[in-house]
């Protein structure tokens, strides 16, 4: 799949590159350890795994309208914020957080992407151009 390019829709501008981590569950970034990026939530699909500097493929955000942004902010203070966020269901809380903290975020990705992408792939998300490239 190396070099394959998929279309997507810009939510928050910017370009980010990182290793893919896929979560079937929605994510609440407050329950992530800022120092490591480790997901702390009990019974979460990626409990114990790190989202630091990753390109996260997940359904969308959930939870509090308050601390979702603080979770991202704390990750940013430790330079552990996601490299990019690839979501399916945008909701205002996570969208506002991504825009304010300038983290590239996209949705409406070519369905083919979801068939081929796997954990550990390296991807470049160019929200401005509306493309995701699988690099490995």
């Amino acid at each position: 799949m190396s070099g394959k390019v998929f279309s997507c829709h810009k939510i928050s501008e910017g370009v980010g590159e990182g290793e893919v981590i896929i979560s079937r569950d929605e994510i609440m970034f407050y329950l992530v350890r800022p120092e490591t990026g480790e997901v702390l939530e009990k019974a979460h699909d990626i409990e114990g795994k790190s989202v630091a500097k990753k390109a996260i493929v997940f359904p969308g955000g959930k939870g509090s309208s308050v601390v979702q942004s603080d979770g991202l902010f704390q990750l940013m203070l430790q330079h552990n914020q996601p490299a990019a966020m690839i979501i399916q269901y945008p909701e205002t809380v996570l969208v506002a957080g991504a825009i304010i903290m300038e983290i590239p975020m996209v949705d409406k990705v070519d369905p083919e992407f979801y068939k081929v992408v796997k954990n550990g792939d390296r991807v470049k998300v160019d929200a401005n151009a509306g493309t995701i490239t699988i690099l490995n």
Binding site: E26, L31, K62, S64, S65, V66, V67, L77, E91, V93
Partner: protein
């Protein structure tokens, strides 16, 4: 996005850099959801949190000269005079809360410090366009009051309060307010506590607007509060319908706008028992160190009930009830505060469970009736056994929970 000439002026900085930044954030949100234009709001609620991000953004807006056009009500941080007097916060923590207070005061917000404004202090009219953040507040104003708000974040609601407008998309439009998931509730709703567990079914319900059937013909304000708060802990929900109860769902057909549900979910007694036992509560049958209520804030009706249960008794562990300053003041006038204090408990105004003032309970185990109360402070090392209110009160009297 099409902007009026006034908003174009705002974008260019005519009303200051703060207003220009607030509008820029909102234009970004609007473009994400393909909003064609901005529309005015007449009320807002900002989920102030006294977290670092919250203070960073509020102070940034103050420095940029922003002032709220629509004075919003705000969420609690912690009650600075109360916890300073009790020596429960460090000087750094006290300074942080003081800065949050100063920043929101400079922005011209209504410093209500309460997370249930829809109960009394900020109640919108049907069809009123508003910008409400806060877990239980957004679904309450949409579902119960029939007002129109998207699921704003603390920051996007503050931006809306500053600019006085919101992008027109989502729940502001009739066609997006219809349900798409039919949720058949077979579990018996024994008390308002049952709605905490029902709300925690977000993972089973899935994304969208749930339409509940099987809940009877009346839900108390506290049941709606609990349902909305927990739906937004287990998922992200800006609105729900209860057929025969909420104003936009007189019938099943009206709730779905004449369309078929995209999916049907059944919630059983076993679902509620399983989520309580395996996902959200620490195991019971143990000694406890404290009891904490009021996430979201306790209502006057609940305060009265607690006082009746505690009259003439002595509590075995500290018993904290977080509530609005209005409810605390009413409780004092009604003689309820004295009853609770005589038993060894207290009402605390302007305070949230996810604040540094509770750090003395790090590594300790409390009881609460709210899954949300147990969820967020987990990051601070607080552990909770979750039970219904009566069981929690019994536990606080004995120092041990079933």
């Amino acid at each position: 996005m099409e902007l009026t000439s006034d908003l174009k002026d705002m974008e260019k900085g005519k009303y200051g850099e703060g207003a220009a930044l607030a509008l820029k954030v909102q234009i970004g949100i609007g473009e994400c959801f393909d909003a064609p234009r901005m529309v005015p709001i007449t009320n807002a609620h900002v989920a102030l949190s006294n977290q670092e991000m919250d203070l960073w953004f509020a102070e940034k807006m103050v420095k940029l000269g922003a002032k709220t056009k629509i004075p919003p009500t705000v969420n609690p941080g912690f009650c600075l005079p109360y916890f300073s007097a009790k020596n429960m916060v460090t000087s750094e923590e006290a300074d942080h809360m003081k800065r949050t207070h100063e920043a929101y005061r400079a922005l011209g917000c209504r410093l209500t410090y309460n997370c249930t404004p829809y109960m009394d202090t900020n109640v919108p009219f049907p069809n009123e366009i508003v910008a409400f953040s806060e877990s239980s507040a957004t679904p309450f104003v949409n579902s119960v009051w029939g007002a129109r708000s998207n699921r704003e974040s603390a920051q996007s609601a503050l931006c809306a309060a500053i600019t006085g407008v919101v992008p027109e998309y989502g729940l502001l439009l009739d066609e997006n307010r219809k349900g798409n998931i039919l949720v058949k509730v077979e579990a018996e709703m024994k008390s308002d506590f049952s709605y905490n567990l029902l709300g925690y079914m977000g993972r089973k319900i899935g994304p969208g607007i749930p339409v509940f059937v099987g809940l009877g013909s009346y839900l108390s304000p506290e049941a709606h509060r609990n349902l909305g708060a927990e739906l937004n802990t287990s998922g992200a929900y800006a609105m729900y319908h209860v057929v025969g109860v909420t104003p936009e769902a007189p019938t099943l057909e009206a709730a779905f706008g004449g369309r078929e549900p995209e999916r049907t979910v059944t919630i059983t007694e076993e679902d509620l028992a399983r989520v309580l036992e395996t996902e959200i509560s620490d195991p019971g049958n143990r000694d406890i160190d404290f009891a904490l209520f009021g996430c979201p804030h306790t209502s006057i009706r609940e305060v009265r009930y607690m006082a009746e249960r505690l009259q003439g008794k002595k509590l075995a562990v500290p018993f904290w009830v977080m509530t609005s300053s209005l409810t605390k003041s009413s409780a004092e006038k009604m003689g309820l505060l004295k009853i609770i204090q005589d038993a060894g408990g207290d009402l605390v105004e302007d305070t949230c469970s996810d604040q540094p003032c509770w750090h003395l309970y790090k590594g300790r185990v409390g009881v609460t009736e709210s899954p949300k109360c147990a969820y967020y402070p987990r990051k601070r090392g607080l552990e909770f056994v979750i039970r219904d209110l009566d069981t929690c009160i019994d536990a606080a009297l004995k120092g041990r929970v079933k």
